[in-house]
């Protein structure tokens, strides 16, 4: 740097600029390296259990319990036997069906209740709607652990105890507050002029809602469905308490309670069963991460 100082020749100035660019590049490289170096332990800790699940799911039992070899690679051919075992000798297929059915019904109930609710909170300008909105959201903050004992009596009174329908009934208690809140945020962003135009054209209030607001809120509604689905998958307590019949269980409960025979854990099939539902849920979450976070943090960020 000192060598070129004082010279004003154009050629040397180009050289100076190149040197500057090189320095900037070196600085950027150093910064990249430092940031990556800091991130490596976090990534390793976050991903390692999942990688280990994956390896375990495809290893033969003999390979899995061989203490003399490096455990994190295959020393016999990878196998599908744990997956075929799940589908042929356990209720795994039923559990997947149950989970899908429960998630679909919960999503439907959530939308039928959450769309009108969210719209009313966002748009109609009801007196006291703010408090009602907070009241509904409060339901999300009263955790299942306070409710599972009384709910077990409520569910026991009906004929749906020990069936998946018990879960269809109780899961909306945590999807409705969250999704109503999320949807009301979406509805607030729809310009009111669209709706007013439809009303001038002779639509009723409900007609205007269905014909104009819903079509432009598809993204919001889709997001609400995804969350109804993923929140359903996060539950453990309600399914543990309300469903004890094997073929009625959802996947997380079934894998956690039914794949253990006696005191023996069959890790290969356990990890196969866990991975098969865990990965799709994780991928869905990652795709909708930004919406999920904004739903939770908008309280503070705005």
């Amino acid at each position: 740097m000192t060598a070129v100082r004082g010279h004003a020749l154009p050629l040397q100035r180009v050289g100076l600029m190149e040197a500057g660019a090189r320095r900037a590049k070196a600085r950027s490289l150093r910064r990249h390296l430092l940031v990556y170096l800091g991130l490596v332990p976090f990534i390793a800790i976050a991903v390692f259990p999942v990688v280990w699940m994956g390896i375990t799911a495809f290893k033969t039992d003999a390979d899995l319990v061989n203490p003399t070899v490096f455990p994190f690679w295959f020393h016999q051919h990878p196998t599908w036997e744990h997956f075929t075992y799940l589908f042929q000798h356990t209720y795994y297929g039923d559990w997947i069906g149950n989970t899908m059915l429960i998630a679909a019904c919960v999503s439907l109930i959530t939308l039928l209740v959450g769309v009108p609710g969210g719209y009313a909170l966002a748009r109609v300008g009801l007196p006291g709607s703010e408090n009602m909105g907070i009241g509904i959201f409060l339901g999300y903050l009263i955790p299942p652990i306070l409710l599972f004992i009384p709910l077990s009596r409520v569910v026991a009174l009906t004929h749906i105890i020990d069936t998946k329908w018990a879960l269809v009934l109780v899961y909306p208690t945590f999807t409705i507050p969250y999704c109503t809140w999320l949807l009301s945020g979406f509805f607030k962003t729809v310009p009111p002029e669209i709706e007013e135009a439809a009303r001038v054209d002779g639509c009723g209030r409900l007609g205007a809602l269905i014909k104009t607001v819903l079509p432009v809120s598809v993204a919001g509604i889709l997001t609400a469905v995804i969350f109804a689905f993923t929140l359903t998958m996060q539950d453990f307590l309600y399914s543990l308490v309300f469903v004890s019949v094997s073929d009625q269980k959802p996947v997380p409960l079934g894998v956690a309670t039914d794949l253990i025979r006696g005191d023996v854990y069959y890790w290969g099939s356990l990890m196969a069963g866990a991975l098969l539902v865990g990965i799709p849920v994780a991928i869905l979450y990652v795709f909708f991460l930004d919406q999920f976070i904004s739903g939770i943090t908008s309280a503070a960020v705005k």
């Binding site: 999942v50 699940m53 109609v124 955790p143």
Partner: protein, 309 residues
């Protein structure tokens, strides 16, 4: 004159009133399903649990007698439940501190502009996205007394001495349980913080630079005051779910060894459902209520602030 004006404006007033009444009817009928669903399946059970906690109701019994606060007295005098209460608080606080620290570190790394940022973020949030029961199983396998992957890696890196039995040791088991909770929660803390950092107005930072504030001063007086309330909201949210999460302890240790990892949720399940003592179980769950109340209050106040902004 005044009379004439009253005559002119009256129809308008009437029409306006009809308009509002119709609008109110419409609005309340849209909101009613949500309110009713929550009232019937959250509100009613909540008060029912208060009633149960004051009674000697059990699964087998046909009658329930009012017993006053005797359930609470018995529960609070029970040594194992005292331990569960202590563990619940210690687990939540220790895990919260670790999640806050790790989450902050990670957030500062993730906001740097580096290549592959999106992919890195997706990988780092995996723990938070996996269904919790499934993560707990993965960790149970990693803590396996014989084939522990953690011990394999740890002993070879000379981080671990010997071959510890994570879930069978009364000191290590709580460490193991807290670790899983932290593993699951730190990405959430980081993402919430990132959302907060992007809300720090850049003009403020520039103004700080112009005024001669160095890096640390800028963080101390500009960034931290903006992100602290956001981290607080994130951690409080997390606290609600950490306090009430049963799956990690249930699947890893079932409260053992010797009650070292027993928490109120596992105790409530054991007594209220498995032993069928509904009243006693409900009173154990309700011990969480005074802890949750301030947390929920702060969270709701934040929501209200957003509404009025």
């Amino acid at each position: 004159m005044a009379n004439a004006q009253a005559i002119i404006t009256r129809p308008a007033v009437v029409r306006h009133r009809a308009f509002t009444a119709e609008r109110l009817r419409f609005g309340y009928s849209l909101l009613a399903p949500a309110v009713v669903y929550m009232a019937v399946l959250v509100g009613v059970p909540f008060f029912f649990s208060l009633y149960l906690a004051l009674s000697d109701a059990s699964v087998g019994g046909t009658t329930a007698n009012y017993v006053g606060l005797s359930n609470f007295v018995a529960v609070l005098q029970d040594g194992t439940i005292q331990q569960a209460l202590r563990n619940t608080i210690v687990f939540t606080v220790v895990a919260g501190i670790f999640k806050g620290v790790l989450g902050t570190l990670l957030a500062f790394l993730l906001i740097q502009e580096v290549r592959g940022k999106k992919l890195i973020r997706s990988l780092v949030v995996i723990p938070w996205t996996l269904p919790v029961a499934i993560s707990a199983l993965a960790w149970k396998w990693m803590y396996d007394p014989q084939f522990s992957a953690i011990n394999y890696v740890g002993t070879r890196l000379h981080l671990i001495q010997g071959w510890p039995n994570w879930l069978g040791d009364s000191f290590l088991a709580p460490v193991a349980v807290i670790s899983v909770n932290v593993w699951r929660g730190f990405p959430f803390a980081a993402i919430v913080l990132m959302a907060g950092m992007s809300a720090v107005p850049l003009e403020l930072l520039d103004a700080g630079k112009v005024d001669g504030a160095n890096f640390f001063l800028r963080y101390r007086y500009i960034v931290i005051p903006v992100i602290a309330p956001i981290l607080l909201v994130g951690l409080l949210f997390d606290t609600v779910f950490t306090l009430s999460d049963i799956s990690i302890v249930y699947l890893l240790t079932l409260g053992g060894p010797m009650g070292a990892t027993e928490i109120l949720p596992t105790k409530a399940l054991e007594i209220g459902i498995q032993a069928g003592a509904l009243g006693r179980g409900a009173s154990i769950s309700l011990l969480l209520f005074p802890i949750l109340l301030p947390v929920v209050y702060v969270l709701l106040r934040n929501l209200r602030r957003r509404e009025t902004l």
